[in-house]
Symmetry: C2
Subunit: 117 residues, 2 copies
Amino acid sequence: MQDLIKATKALSDETRLRLLNLVLTRECCVCEVMQALNISQTRASRNLKALHEAGFLKLRKNGLWSLYSVDEADMQARYPHLLRAVKRALQNNATAAEDRARLKKAERLGPGCVGQP
Amino acid sequence: MQDLIKATKALSDETRLRLLNLVLTRECCVCEVMQALNISQTRASRNLKALHEAGFLKLRKNGLWSLYSVDEADMQARYPHLLRAVKRALQNNATAAEDRARLKKAERLGPGCVGQP
DNA sequence: ATAATATATGCGAATATGCGCATATAAAGC
DNA sequence: GCTTTATATGCGCATATTCGCATATATTAT
């Protein structure tokens, strides 16, 4: 029950749902999502961390970047239904679609960007 | 997206999850759930109302009672996955099982109780 | 009508949450 | 070494949430 509380608390925030929407499309670093959602670095970093601590995202460090991605396998094991509910809600949402479009234009900043997947 | 936020916010609270657990077994009035969870009348009333406003419960008035029940059909239509996630979390939880046991012993108070299903 | 009862709610206090600002941390390049 | 850059975090403030107390509301019984 406590796990579900932690998970639903993490989902009950517009910024975090919009972040999850982006990371569901592909692995993202902090600077990309702050461009796509037009939010501050503090806000992006803290809410990504919250999603990570709630068990929705996994974190991988590469140089200066913190790369967040959805841990689909773990999610499927622990919350087989929650992720479906989220995807469903994001699929028919205009804001979520616009965010995904802006993510495509967002750039991964930094000198080490070239050739670092 | 806003609907999902409202729904997950309603679910991200232990009192409300325990209440939902009870009402999932059968229609309940306020005085029954406050006995089963051993919580105050204010707390029971307000959190049931929150679940109702979030679209999880339907409300029916009968005499002095407010009878809350899960609107399974509507839930299924609007959140086909959320309810499953909740049921799954409650199924393997000791507190939830104890609450259900105490609900069976709870009495629907009031003089009009006899013969009022 | 009055009394009793179940539920709802205004108010206030305690606590939690979200986020901006400034700063710290850490990795890469010079 | 120093600088630059991406990210994390301590602090403080504004806002939101939760809940108890007291009281209001509504229904039934007498």
